[in-house]
């Protein structure tokens, strides 16, 4: 069928690639990205040029936007009308442009995202500053290219007599790349240009003396300078912007938050809606009412707070969870090399490109002026000759038939152009030529020509002209910065969002952990029965309970010698009876890694130490502050020898005595200062010399006046005063590294020591046996005996059942000191 038709085959890949690259390249070089020289995308350039060509400068009356849109479409930009109008509207919005390029009359939209009126209603003309974008364009300063139907020419770039790319910024998404350049303050950018002109070696720091950072039309506050610096140095960086807020006190001492400025490109209506939604969803708490009271006097969003709300916490949450704080991701991509290539540019690079372009503009303008001046001078030379011989000239013209031109040329040696000018003059004008005036004008021209010629041969002079022109522009249009830059780096710390409160932390043998507000335990009187602190799974027991603030650090030591650091609030909160979360969900533990000890500290201060005790009798002391590294989890606190395990960690103040208790019934007590303070990776030193097969079962701070509670496999136990472990008159401890003293008279009957703790006698203790039985008793019920005794039966266990562990519990949760699990 239809043999005449041509059907060529084309491989899918080839078809895709050609089509795609066509699209991608035109979007990149001719749609979405600005030219580094004038900072405009094609559609903006065409809008401005069409207005200029239509004589719609700032001193002329407004014209309907429709005229402008129509002109742009019909003459230069064969695309959708909506896209042209949208682009034009943006140029006229005071919240989008730092310096508007279009002066709009009528509804051009609002920061609430309201659409502008249709283009048949609104009127527009160029803004004053916009004139500067096009100044000198008629002096052959830029290249011209044919428009789409080759019926007229359009400028490839505008002269842009001020650095528009930086001043107004740009944003656009092309294919495979995108640009996002923030707006800046005109005065600052021009000062930076001058800085480069004065000193071509100017560094980024020099430039940043002038350009402090972006200056957004919506004002607001920029948080921190490092993102700005990164953006200027490399072309990429992240700048955190915040709205301006204040606390206002009103009736009854209640506080409300007032928002008066927003971050750039944040839609106010959307912001208010997001806040409202989050309040409804309970994701934002403490807010009782929300109103937008903005009117002709300016922006005012009112956020009423509940009576008990902490204003700073609410505000911080607003910053973290809504666009009241947003990040501007700077990506300074623009077209260079006469729009042939997109490139990521540093601040200096942009300024250099701009200044190079402006030098060229001045050169081309001077060449044009020179040509015009020479032409005029040439004519004046002719007129001067004619004026000298006015009678003869008039005579020749009158007597000539149609060869006056030739005759004049022959008689006075005039050129065609000169004669033509003479002939074009009316007789009256010709007779009225005044020699003085002509001479004066000629003189002036000669001077100009000399100046132009000098300028063309002297680049330093060109630069000084450029500098002066920029200064004039700065003084005429410059204004003060409106966006504040604050030094605080202030990445919102999550902590700022969480109200500080005391919590009870519970951890079980099997690694279940939870956090419960201390207030949940508060209701009982002394001597009460206590409340259940945790529901545990069968065969699981609570091994440690302690209170700490949500803002405290919890240090989790594991059997492999690592320490994990977590803020209290990071432990999942759960109700009183909940069983909690397994620790593997909270800490990044490796297989086989088990938490063996936990501590809470307010901060990693310089005065505190940690003493670590391993199963094989090694002890090690480190400064608490040495754990303060950037890595919050899983840093090494101790290097363990093969087969050894970390069993206890104690916080000390540098003046404590440390007591170690072994399986075979030995114990040693020595000063912590005997242990040299070491680095995190160190192995430690010997704390006690162990006999073959013996190992450490417990360790504690030996506080005088307290007792050491030891428990054996077969359920025997006793308490022994700490003083018995000290020797001599003043109660001197032993040196570390010895075999120690006999702590327990281990016999067949008692079995070996499995656990030991220092107790005050005012707490409860829990004993757990390997058949899962737990017994809870008052510590003071256990008799006090001296060191080398057998103790009494404290827990009755069946044959081949052994006691395996000992835990302490507060008698009452209420008055729990920082660490109940400690001595």
């Amino acid at each position: 069928m239809y043999p005449q038709q041509t059907i060529v085959s084309n491989d899918l890949v080839k078809e895709m690639q050609t089509s795609f690259i066509e699209y991608a390249m035109s979007v990149i070089v001719a749609r979405a990205l600005p030219d580094v020289r004038d900072g405009l995308k094609p559609v903006h350039r065409r809008i401005l040029y069409a207005m200029y060509a239509d004589n719609l400068t700032s001193d002329k009356p407004f014209k309907k936007s429709a005229t402008c849109v129509g002109d742009v479409l019909g003459r230069y930009h064969p695309h959708g009308d909506a896209s042209v109008y949208d682009a034009m509207v943006r140029l006229a919005q005071d919240f989008s442009m730092r310096y508007m390029l279009v002066d709009g009359h009528g509804n051009f939209g609002s920061i609430d995202g309201d659409p502008p009126a249709a283009y048949r209603y609104t009127e527009a003309r160029m803004s004053k500053l916009s004139n500067e974008m096009l100044r000198d364009i008629e002096k052959d300063t830029v290249d011209w290219v044919p428009n789409f139907d080759e019926s007229r020419k359009e400028p490839k770039v505008l002269p842009a007599r001020f650095p528009n790319l930086l001043v107004n910024g740009s944003s656009g998404i092309a294919v495979g790349m995108a640009t996002n350049i923030p707006p800046h303050n005109l005065k600052e950018v021009i000062n930076a240009c001058i800085c480069v002109l004065d000193n071509s070696e100017a560094t980024l720091s020099d430039l940043m003396e002038h350009i402090k950072g972006p200056d957004f039309p919506t004002r607001g506050i920029i948080m921190g300078r490092s993102g700005i610096r990164a953006a200027y140095a490399t072309g990429r960086g992240r700048i955190v912007m915040r709205g301006r807020t204040e606390f206002e006190e009103h009736a009854g001492g209640r506080i409300r938050i007032i928002v008066t400025e927003l971050p750039y490109q944040v839609n106010k209506k959307v912001l208010v809606e997001t806040i409202a939604d989050q309040v409804k969803d309970k994701r934002l708490e403490g807010i009782s009412d929300l109103r937008d009271e903005s009117d002709r006097n300016g922006m005012r969003i009112v956020i009423e707070l509940k009576k008990d709300a902490n204003p700073q916490v609410v505000l911080n949450r607003l910053f973290a969870q809504t666009s009241l704080q947003t990040t501007f991701s700077v990506n300074m991509l623009a077209l260079v090399d006469d729009q042939s290539q997109p490139k990521i540019l540093s601040l200096r690079h942009i300024l250099d490109e701009y200044l190079k372009f402006q030098e060229e503009i001045i050169l081309r303008r001077t060449r044009y002026d020179l040509r015009k001046a020479e032409e005029r001078a040439h004519i004046l030379e002719g007129l001067l000759i004619a004026q000298d011989n006015i009678d003869e000239v008039i005579h020749i013209i009158r007597s000539a038939y149609d060869d006056a031109k030739e005759k004049l040329m022959a008689r006075f040696g005039l050129t065609d152009v000169q004669v033509q000018c003479i002939l074009d003059m009316r007789l009256k004008a010709l007779q009225g030529l005044e020699r003085d005036k002509l001479m004066a004008e000629y003189k002036e021209l000669e001077e100009k020509i000399a100046y132009y010629q000098k300028l063309l041969g002297d680049m330093d002079l060109v630069r000084s002209v450029l500098k002066q022109e920029l200064i004039d522009l700065r003084d005429k249009y410059g204004d003060d910065r409106i966006t504040e830059i604050q030094d605080v780096e202030d990445e919102i710390d999550i902590e700022d969002l969480i109200e500080e409160e005391q919590c009870v932390y519970t951890m079980t043998q099997n690694g279940y952990i939870k956090r419960t507000a201390a207030t949940e335990y508060s209701a009982q009187k002394r001597g009460g029965k206590g409340v259940k602190a945790m529901t545990t799974r069968e065969e699981d027991v609570v091994t440690s309970v302690f209170t700490a603030s949500t803002h405290d650090y919890l240090l989790f030591f594991t059997n492999t010698g690592k320490v994990h650091r977590k803020k209290g609030y990071l432990i999942p909160e759960a109700g009183r009876t909940a069983k909690g979360t397994n620790i593997v969900n909270v800490l990044p533990l490796e297989a086989g890694e088990k938490v063996t000890a936990g501590l809470s500290v307010r901060e990693l201060d310089e005065e505190s130490y940690l003493v670590m005790i391993t199963r094989m009798g090694t002890v090690k002391r480190i400064a608490l502050s040495s754990l303060n590294t950037a890595r919050k989890a899983g840093i090494r606190a101790l290097t363990l020898e093969e087969g050894d395990e970390l069993i206890e960690v104690r916080r000390t103040d540098g003046h404590q005595n440390i007591l170690l208790v072994t399986h075979d019934g030995m114990a040693i007590c020595f000063k912590e200062t005997d242990i040299r303070c070491m680095g995190r990776d160190a192995v430690g030193v010997r704390g006690i010399r162990l006999k073959e097969g013996d190992y450490v079962v417990g360790a504690a701070r030996a506080v005088q006046g307290h007792t050491l509670l030891s428990i054996t496999e077969n359920g025997y136990g006793k308490r022994t005063p700490i003083e018995e472990y000290l020797r001599g008159e003043g109660g001197e401890p032993q040196k570390r590294g010895g075999s120690g003293l006999k702590n327990y008279n281990v016999t067949e009957k008692t079995g070996k020591v499995v656990a030991a703790r220092v107790v005050t006698g005012e707490e409860d203790i829990l004993m757990i046996s390997d058949d899962g039985t737990i017994i809870r008793m008052d510590a003071s019920d256990i008799n006090i005996y001296s060191r080398a005794t057998q103790g009494v039966r404290v827990m009755r266990v069946a044959e081949d059942v052994k006691v395996i562990s000992l835990a302490r519990a507060e008698k009452e949760e209420e008055d729990s000191a920082p660490l109940t699990e400690e001595e």
Binding site: T6, V8, S9, L12, I21, E22, S26, I28, G176, N585
Partner: protein, 323 residues
């Protein structure tokens, strides 16, 4: 537990009763509650203590869910089509009279403005027109369920009648020439890439069978007085221009670049692009499916970096740069 997960439970009990000959299922009701309790209890414990495993299982389940959801949508779509009176065709489609798919062709046209010319210029006996407005979804980046519900793509699916994805049935295809007729400008190129992505990912047999074509509209219009010609390439433009000029070197020849199909009158469009006696078509063939797959992943896929590399490497080969 629908797919991809296996569990082994060992139960020891007396008087085990199995359902059916294959003994695929244990029949004792009593043990069921027991096993249920123990398993859910222990499994909850296990998942709590092994978050990595829990996450993997969750991801798997969510992926399976998404796939099921997509399949359900697809089925519904097909059911709806066969609902009322056989097939309900999209409102915008101007169908042809001929019913034999081997004789018919459908033009998928960019924009309503071009759609009008195409409707006016076509031969309604065998040429159907389906105008699409605006840029459709990039299916490479979209999830399957988004594709099924997309309002730009569903007219294409219904008009072609053959279903998509696994349900595709070439016997139901209503036209054996599916011609993409996009403007000869860069946005036309883009729309072509988007449509081809859709065909490749969801209707690949169409391409394999060679049913997909690209129309070749002229690029230039040359006028000298009342004479006018069209040219399909730059070389042709120069040749035609020389011919038009003939022996008069000063003759003024107007050369205009076609910006869109909407610029052409209906009869011009017929003569230059649609008339099977004269037109030329590019048939899209699939020479190397693996290469094509990679190509789509690079050009249309989620990851930006390879795309930028491609652009940088190929930037110099651009033929048709438009302002």
């Amino acid at each position: 537990m629908r797919e991809g997960l296996t569990a082994v439970i060992s139960v020891k009990l007396e008087e085990a009763q199995f359902e059916g000959q294959t003994k695929a299922k244990l029949g004792n009701a009593r043990i069921r509650t027991l096993v249920d309790n123990v398993v859910s209890d222990q499994l909850a414990l296990f998942l709590e203590e092994n978050p990595m495993v829990a996450r993997t299982i969750l991801d798997k389940a969510m992926m399976a869910n998404r796939a099921r959801e997509a399949a359900r949508k697809a089925r519904e779509n097909i059911r709806r089509k066969t609902g009322l009176e056989g097939e309900r065709l999209p409102g915008k489609l101007s169908d042809c009279n001929e019913r034999d798919p081997s004789l018919t062709e459908i033009y998928i046209v960019e924009g309503d403005s071009a759609g009008g010319s195409a409707k006016g210029g076509r031969d309604s006996r065998f040429q159907a027109i389906l105008p699409l407005w605006g840029k459709m979804l990039n299916v490479e980046k979209a999830r399957a369920d988004k594709v099924y519900g997309n309002d730009k793509l569903s007219p294409v699916i219904t008009a072609l009648g053959c279903g998509i994805g696994e349900d595709l049935d070439l016997n139901k295809l209503r036209y054996h020439k599916v011609v993409i007729m996009a403007d000869a400008d860069v946005d036309g190129s883009h729309i072509r890439t988007l449509l081809l992505t859709f065909f490749f990912r969801y209707m690949r047999p169409l391409i394999e069978e060679g049913y997909v074509y690209a129309a070749v509209p002229p690029l230039y219009k040359l006028t000298r007085g009342k004479m006018s010609r069209v040219a399909y390439s730059d070389e042709e433009r120069d040749k035609e221009s020389a011919e038009l000029r003939g022996d008069n070197p000063n003759a003024k020849i107007d050369i205009s670049r076609y910006k869109g199909l909407g610029e052409m009158n209906a009869h011009e469009l017929w003569e230059t692009t649609m008339d099977p006696e004269k037109r030329s078509l590019r048939r899209i063939t699939l020479d190397d499916a693996i290469a094509a797959d990679q190509c789509f992943t690079i050009l249309m896929g989620e990851s930006v970096e390879p795309r930028r590399e491609f652009i940088e490497q190929n930037a110099k080969y651009v033929i048709n740069l438009d302002i």
